[in-house]
Symmetry: C2
């Protein structure tokens, strides 16, 4: 079933305690769509500048990712983010942000994309996210991401958006900020009461918690000693999750839980190298192998 993602396509410069990379492909829609493409076709809506390397575009095009919604602005420059990870590899500092063409991003869906059953509104202003939603015709499942900036500075538009999405994915600190609740279980359910039928709170290296009216469950991250670059972990998690749901064509409780597990596993590969490097090396069978180990890990 068609899966649509709207979000950023970026060039990232990343410093980690061990290694650095300059102007590699990044962005929320990039990580999401690459992760989701293991499960089926993806439609990407985003914007880049003329400086966006043809090889990066090809990387996505080779993966069953429809780029007819990826606009290139003549003379424009691609969204650029430079960040540095602290030794714990969880906390990071933003060193430089150049919004460039992404600063004026007013997503316009190609007509063929307006009929998309599954929609992911990657992190962006809730006003922009809402404008995307207005262009989609009767989606079956809409999931959004958000961040502290919008919680603080676009609170009302965010609350309006939450009334219209089926699911929300956000970080633990963001769930606490949004609800002013310190207990994460309470916070998750309070977010859910703002509108979404389900909420997934991402806890980074500690996994994720799922909240629906009748369910609260935690799935841990897949333990790995090879964390090279955590950038895009959350988006590849969402990509794996929604990719699986779109492939399964349903979002029953059991499917949602399986989807969350797939999201966790795709993310566990994503962090094992910079950018999309690790995901380029693996196949669906690698994800399935890890799923077998993950299931075994959680059974006793």
């Amino acid at each position: 079933m068609p899966l649509l993602v709207v979000g950023s396509v970026a060039l990232d410069s990343i410093e980690t305690p061990l290694e650095s990379r300059d102007r590699i492909i990044g962005g929320s829609a990039t990580h999401f769509s690459y992760a989701a493409s293991f499960f089926g076709p993806v439609r990407l809506v985003g914007v880049v500048g003329e400086d966006f390397p043809a090889e990066y575009r090809q990387l996505l095009a080779d993966r069953n990712i429809d780029l007819s919604g990826l606009h290139t602005i003549p003379g424009g420059k691609t969204f650029y983010w430079k960040g540095k990870y602290l030794p714990n590899m969880n906390d990071r500092e933003t060193i430089e942000v150049q919004l460039n063409v992404f600063g004026d991003f007013k997503p316009k869906l190609p007509d063929t994309f307006r009929q998309s059953d599954f929609v992911f509104l990657a992190n962006g202003s809730p006003v922009t996210q809402m404008s995307v939603l207005d262009q989609v015709v009767k989606p079956r499942l809409v999931v959004a991401d958000t961040m502290d900036l919008w919680i603080r500075e676009q609170h009302s538009p965010l609350l309006a958006l939450l009334k219209r999405v089926d699911g929300l994915v956000l970080n633990d600190s963001e769930a606490k900020l949004l609800t002013q609740e310190e207990n994460l279980v309470t916070a998750g359910h309070k977010v859910r009461e703002l509108g979404p039928k389900f909420v997934v709170v991402k806890k980074g290296e500690h996994g994720a918690i799922f909240f629906s009216e009748h369910e609260t469950y935690v799935l841990p991250a897949y333990p790995t000693d090879r964390v090279v670059d955590p950038t895009g972990a959350g988006d590849s998690f969402a990509g794996g999750m929604l990719g699986y749901l779109a492939a399964k064509k349903n979002f029953e409780p059991q499917t949602l839980k399986e989807a969350m597990a797939y999201g966790i596993l795709v993310a566990s590969y994503n962090v094992e190298d910079f950018s999309l490097n690790r995901l380029q090396q693996i196949k669906m069978s690698d994800i399935e192998d890890r799923l077998v180990k993950y299931r075994r890990m959680l059974s006793f």
Copy 2:
């Protein structure tokens, strides 16, 4: 099978953002033995002063906890700890510590305790822990806890102890400190290479990771919106874990994993009220009920 614990029995004054309690029963051996007593008899070795309330002693005695190793020092005062939890209920500040009789604690095992198959050396100086080990005759399984203080200030005795224990239980920050490793999976295995056959790294509200030569697995904490007082969570975790192992009379890989799950569930009850209050209210059937839910949570 006889399970022996040597550690602190204390009076705690605890402030949380919502409520406070003064001079309630606490201490590592207390939380451990109460938790373990759900599964079978426990032998406690510790020391208290004359001020230790008879009702607290009775609380333990009523639970299949053999107190013939709990020494009362005439004229002495019981180990006292006063602490305050920050709003996140994970971080805490120590406001006051009075070691009192615990400061001179030189554990001497009653003769009847020297034959104990399962031994838990609760957090204490590694020199003291070693002196206990020297008094036990051919234990089948020895597990120790430790803390940052001993890692920093008694490094050599700790390393010597690690060569003689089967298992070590410690916090994530302590595992990182001991190994100078930021990645927790790497850190856990490096701790294991210092001697113990298995290592359990406690991650508080995020659960625990198990490390043996052939296994690495994470089990999440049981999600609860009712965290009243986290004091003793780690010790009740260890108590549930070793209590289960002692009852099962083995420590095969599968039993160890089940034991870790029981530890997590007993700890999830422990934090739902101050001191031993919540554990006093529940029965083994409550733990089993939660186990059913926990298993369901982790299966997909």
